[in-house]
């Protein structure tokens, strides 16, 4: 057992060191950065497609699309108008780590970016433990998943700064209570900023875009 603990400590401190270097690079170039996390199928890629379609002409966005297998998400983001999209296939690993981001970052041209978004592997557990050098983790949940998820996967909600509730167009079809999910989430993390959106209907997306512009402006001290 002591071996396991020792190894985890070592891995984490190496990850944290690399994450700190990434953060330093992003800060130096005043690039706002987000690490998007969720269950598989919550709608990370759909939200990023919409974001690119709406903002790619006025904001310089770079994205890394992480997946266990396939470059499908990266291809979807390129089709949506993304000009600076890198696939990152983990080949089995259940999360992205800072070493993977370090490898692709030099190809991103971050000195030319306003916003850098990492789409993590679909997994509500493991990605919570890995700092990737981002400003904030953004956790998505969809109303089809149930309003108990913050209580059942607390680490992810505790380490995120933003919670996006997606697929609200399906709210009436689901046993999902909006007040319950917010209470459950805020009980874990009282500082969560919350958005309610539907990528399908477009509802709530304007507030998300406005907030993205705000964090970019703040990062550039405008």
């Amino acid at each position: 057992m002591s071996t396991t603990i020792h190894l985890e400590k070592k891995v984490f401190s190496e990850n944290d060191k690399l994450a700190a270097e990434i953060r330093f690079q992003l800060q130096k170039h005043q690039v706002a950065s987000l690490n998007m996390v969720s269950s598989p199928g919550s709608g990370k890629t759909s939200l990023l497609e919409k974001t690119l379609q709406t903002l790619a002409k006025e904001i310089r966005i770079g994205m890394v699309a992480g997946d266990v297998q396939t470059e499908n998400d990266a291809n979807r983001l390129i089709k949506a108008g993304g000009e600076n999209i890198k696939p990152l296939v983990t080949g089995g690993s259940c999360h992205l780590d800072a070493r993977m981001i370090s490898r692709v970052l030099p190809e991103m041209g971050i000195e030319e970016l306003d916003l850098f978004i990492i789409e993590n592997v679909g997994n509500l557990v493991c990605p919570s433990g890995y700092d990737l050098g981002e400003d904030m983790k953004v956790v998505l949940i969809s109303v089809t998943e149930g309003d108990d998820k913050p209580l059942k996967y607390p680490a992810m909600f505790r380490r995120s700064s933003v919670m996006i509730i997606n697929k609200i167009d399906m709210l009436e079809l689901c046993d999902f209570n909006m007040e319950t999910v917010k209470r459950n989430a805020l009980q874990i993390n009282g500082n969560l900023k919350i958005f309610e959106i539907s990528c399908r209907s477009g509802q709530g997306l304007d507030q998300w875009y406005t907030w993205l512009k705000k964090i970019i402006a703040e990062k550039k001290n405008l």
Copy 2:
């Protein structure tokens, strides 16, 4: 790197040894056993609630409900009529392992069971790597998650014997093609048995119950 590989090997072989012991016990008492895996919110607990409500009077069912945090799922299963339900809170771990099952199994009275079901932690990646001594892994996906999931999380679909497609009552509201998901899944694993169900409408559940009775009868050589 070599340390990491060495450790994983050690952990896996210990897990496999314990899984073999669990399998031996279950076989000895002719108990059919399933390990239910899925993303968070695909409907594992809902399906198990329905299964208990329908079959608990004629089949002796024991269940272990695994969760990162909370005993909510176990409580739901008890409310649904489960008389032999054990919660298994991992306290952060992203999957169940054979050691955890070994600890609760002596309390389950397996010599009196027809069917033993393990509800794994909601995670489409990590639980695929851990044998729990079960006869089969059963992977659930819901139509709200998208039809690309078998390609993106191939290990889980390769190591499962059954794929259950849940929430088919929402099919028309989702960009989910039933033929595509089946093709994607069978491309990964040509032997998958497939069910299409809705826990909400009840559609397809009869086939699931019939199949459960069949595997129980086969296990008892009836």
